[in-house]
């Protein structure tokens, strides 16, 4: 009998079926991968299991017994617990306080701090999850925060651990450590559900994998008897196609963006960029690789004009723009696909047409004497909708009603309406499905042919390797490596991203 069985789970959201009669079984003591593309319904299914969402139909059985799980507490009582993609940690509390939150050892009404720290320390030693119980969570690296989350689950004695894309924020070496912990957990009889869309991880650690596509189960396979290509095809329903790079279009002696010895502080005033220098040539895609939080955000903000460097210079097409504001930089030919589409890239409650002219409404033809010209704006929006194939009813629809892929097309339509001199593309395909991803990739390659200098910042190594002419690696605010595409491999990039430049040198 299966340890966990979810039968006929169906969940509707307005306008979409997130899960459609999903059957899902997990055996005790296995690591079970739940794979599928963004939007395939993995997270929804797990939220139903964890009591965060209510299913519209279907049943859950634990050891053959039907259970109702109406909230996370009920799930925790049954031994089911979850590490979310966005950690549920209170930054100003210590590691031990976070781990024991809600279940603190007490002495009367007071927290028994000594016992608390002692228990967390013992637990962390037992499972090889190294972390200082007295440290504040806000001071920890992302990897360490994840260890705190796992400790929290173990402290509550979870038997079934759900991990939602746990490797997305880790360096390759941290991923290895995480896998070691997972192996230890299942060795002592616990069970894990591992949500991911990285096939290498499925092959490396999981026993079985269930593939979801568009809310349906495509199949469950035993990993040892399956090729990764098979799982990939189950995920996308067709052969994976990475864009084929054309021969180089770069004009090496024509740098359009020069970044020279830039130093900048983060929001807390701590150094985030420590002397960054590089150039991007016309017709070149320079990929910036790095684990999130190593200065990418600050670099993007500095380039865009949202953060001024403490030292160093920025040059765009021969013009120094170090102290220029964003609008001036845009007038000189800078375009930006921001990291956070929904907050920085778009105004969600505003109309599609308003979003499209957000960077160019200040003058003719879209406004005269400070008054907008609706006819011009509508014509421009209609042309953009056609040229960039935005699936939408009309130019006056609020952007918040669009899907992720369509919303990103709006950003791209605005930024690329005129071919820019320099494009900063930050995580341009995050959260997009295969079709939309290919669209974005093709747009980037088209611009490259038109001699735009493109800086591509991405957390997806496959994307960087497929598109970039040259790869830069950022670690703790400094560039620790620059590789030509032909020299770049996953392994070398992984070591550089982890700050182990010495080991990454070619043999």
């Amino acid at each position: 009998m299966a340890y966990l069985k979810m039968a006929g789970i169906t969940k509707y959201f307005p306008g979409v079926v997130a899960n459609s009669s999903v059957d899902f079984e997990v055996e005790e003591g296995e690591i079970h991968a739940l794979v599928g593309e963004n939007g395939a319904g993995k997270s929804t299914l797990m939220k139903i299991l964890y009591g965060m969402e209510k299913s519209d139909a279907g049943e859950i059985f634990l050891h053959g017994q039907p259970v109702t799980i109406t909230n996370p507490q009920a799930a925790i009582k049954l031994g089911i617990d979850m590490v979310h993609q966005h950690f549920e940690l209170v930054p100003s509390l210590t590691v031990a306080e976070n781990v024991t939150l809600g279940y603190e050892p007490r002495r009367g009404p007071f927290v028994d701090r000594q016992t608390m720290v002692e228990r967390v320390r013992r637990l962390s030693e037992q499972f090889g999850l190294q972390v200082d119980p007295g440290a504040r969570v806000s001071s920890l690296s992302v990897g360490a925060q994840q260890r705190v989350e796992i400790l929290k689950l173990l402290y509550r004695d979870a038997r079934l651990l759900i991990l939602d894309e746990p490797s997305a924020v880790l360096t390759p070496q941290e991923v290895d450590d995480l896998f070691e912990v997972l192996r230890r957990l299942v060795a002592e009889g616990r069970t894990a559900i591992f949500i991911t869309h990285k096939l290498r991880e499925v092959m490396a650690i999981c026993h079985r994998a269930t593939v979801l596509r568009a809310g349906r189960v495509i199949g469950t396979v035993r990993v040892t008897e399956t090729q990764p290509e098979t799982i990939a095809q189950m995920m996308v329903g067709r052969d994976l196609e990475m864009p084929r790079r054309q021969t180089s279009h770069a004009t090496p002696d024509r740098p359009r963006l020069i970044v020279c010895d830039v130093h900048a502080a983060d929001d807390r005033g701590l150094p985030a960029l420590r002397g960054i220098s590089f150039a991007v040539n016309a017709g070149e895609i320079a990929g910036l690789a790095g684990v999130e939080g190593n200065g990418q955000t600050e670099l993007i903000q500095t380039l865009v004009g949202l953060r001024f460097p403490e030292r160093g210079d920025l040059v765009l097409d021969g013009r120094t723009i170090t102290r220029e504001r964003n609008r001036t930089r845009r007038e000189h030919g800078l375009a930006v696909i921001p990291e956070d589409r929904n907050h920085q890239g778009l105004s969600l409650p505003s109309a599609l047409s308003e979003n499209l002219i957000a960077t160019r409404y200040q003058g003719a033809p879209f406004s005269r004497w400070g008054v907008l010209v609706p006819g011009e704006i509508r014509r421009f929006a209609q042309r953009a909708i056609r040229d960039f194939d935005v699936r939408v009813r009309g130019p006056n629809v609020a952007v918040k009603t669009l899907s992720g892929g369509n919303a990103q097309k709006v950003v791209i339509a605005r930024e690329l309406a005129q071919p820019p001199a320099v494009l900063i593309a930050a995580q341009p395909t995050r959260g997009l499905d295969v079709g939309a991803t290919q669209f974005v990739h093709n747009e980037l390659l088209r611009l490259r042919e038109q001699q735009t200098a493109i800086l591509l910042i991405s957390a997806d190594l496959d994307e960087l390797l497929a598109l970039s002419d040259r790869l830069l690696v950022i670690f703790e605010g400094a560039l620790v490596g620059e590789l030509d595409r032909s020299q770049a491999t996953r392994e070398r990039l992984g070591l550089l991203m982890a700050g182990r430049a010495g080991e990454a040198a070619p043999a």
Partner: protein, 299 residues
């Protein structure tokens, strides 16, 4: 100028601010901005006089001020947490209710307007501290205050212990900083918010009682004079840390005491300017803090 009496007045003036500051800090820590402190305090001041007089004991009046404060805290919590009223609108409403309600009740119960000073109501007895009172300067400054002054001092470490040593205090902070994390840990978010607002109401009631029966046993319309907002500014100034909040309240109390004394002397400055001084200092302090936080970020 007499430094001793200046510091003595500083302590007296800042006591209700510290009490209200602790109340504001509790709601800040649970993630709610409480602008109803003012109204809760005014109601407490009124309750202390009315019940102190009717029940024949000033101490029972103080007790009832706490009860009324708690009730208003619960009412406010009901409005903003359970009924999801807007925090600012509900806070304003409660303040108006307190201002109008106390004046109205004064009129129909005692047929008075402006000031209510019932005959026979006595103020709280001053506390003289043996041994300490005999020490020159220090004794004069620290001894002989109204009892609620000492209560306000005790409340600062108590608040600190409550928030940072007790289980429930940790839950309040977790709710304020990351409600989802608290909720998945089985903590009742709404329960903690109710608790923080009710405890805050009690502290406001106590502060009001100090204003009305701590010095002169009388109630005046609008006698809280925006102290609730000053205390709220102190909470922000101190980023809701108990000891620093108390220091901010003492600082305001000092400038308030200073401007009283300057008014009595014949300075060239107009009185209106002097009255502005404590508020000006608060504005300057807040600006300095936020500039220090922001200046590195660029534009």
């Amino acid at each position: 100028m007499d430094i001793v009496s200046l510091l003595d007045a500083t302590l007296r003036i800042s006591a209700p601010l510290i009490l209200v500051g602790m109340a504001g800090l509790l709601s800040y820590q649970v993630g709610l901005i409480n602008i109803a402190l003012e109204g809760m305090m005014l109601s407490g001041a009124f309750a202390a006089v009315v019940f102190g007089y009717e029940l024949g004991s000033t101490w029972l009046g103080v007790l009832m001020a706490i009860v009324v404060g708690a009730a208003l805290g619960a009412l406010f919590a009901l409005a903003v947490i359970t009924l999801r009223a807007n925090l600012i609108v509900a806070g304003l409403a409660l303040n108006f209710l307190a201002t109008g309600g106390t004046a109205y009740l004064m009129d129909i119960l005692y047929n008075q307007s402006g000031t209510l000073a019932p005959e026979g109501l006595r103020k709280l007895p001053a506390v003289t501290i043996p041994l300490l009172e005999d020490i020159p300067v220090l004794g004069e400054m620290l001894s002989g205050h109204s009892p609620l002054v000492y209560v306000s001092w005790v409340m600062v470490p108590l608040t600190s212990i409550f928030l940072y040593r007790m289980v429930v205090g940790g839950h309040i902070r977790a709710v304020g900083e990351h409600p989802e994390a608290a909720q998945t840990a089985g903590i009742s978010v709404q329960g903690m918010q109710y608790l923080a607002l009710i405890l805050g109401g009690m502290l406001c009631g106590l502060a009001g009682a100090h204003l009305s029966v701590g010095d002169l046993p009388l109630f005046r319309e609008r006698m809280t004079n925006d102290r609730g907002f000053i205390a709220l500014a102190a909470v922000y100034f101190a980023a809701a840390r108990p000891r620093l909040t108390a220091v901010a309240c003492l600082l305001f109390g000092f400038f308030e005491a200073l401007q009283f004394r300057l008014q009595l002397r014949d300075t060239a400055l107009p009185n209106e300017f002097l009255q502005m001084l404590p508020y000006l200092m608060v504005v300057i302090a807040l600006v300095v803090i936020s500039v220090r936080k922001e200046w590195r970020k660029g534009w």
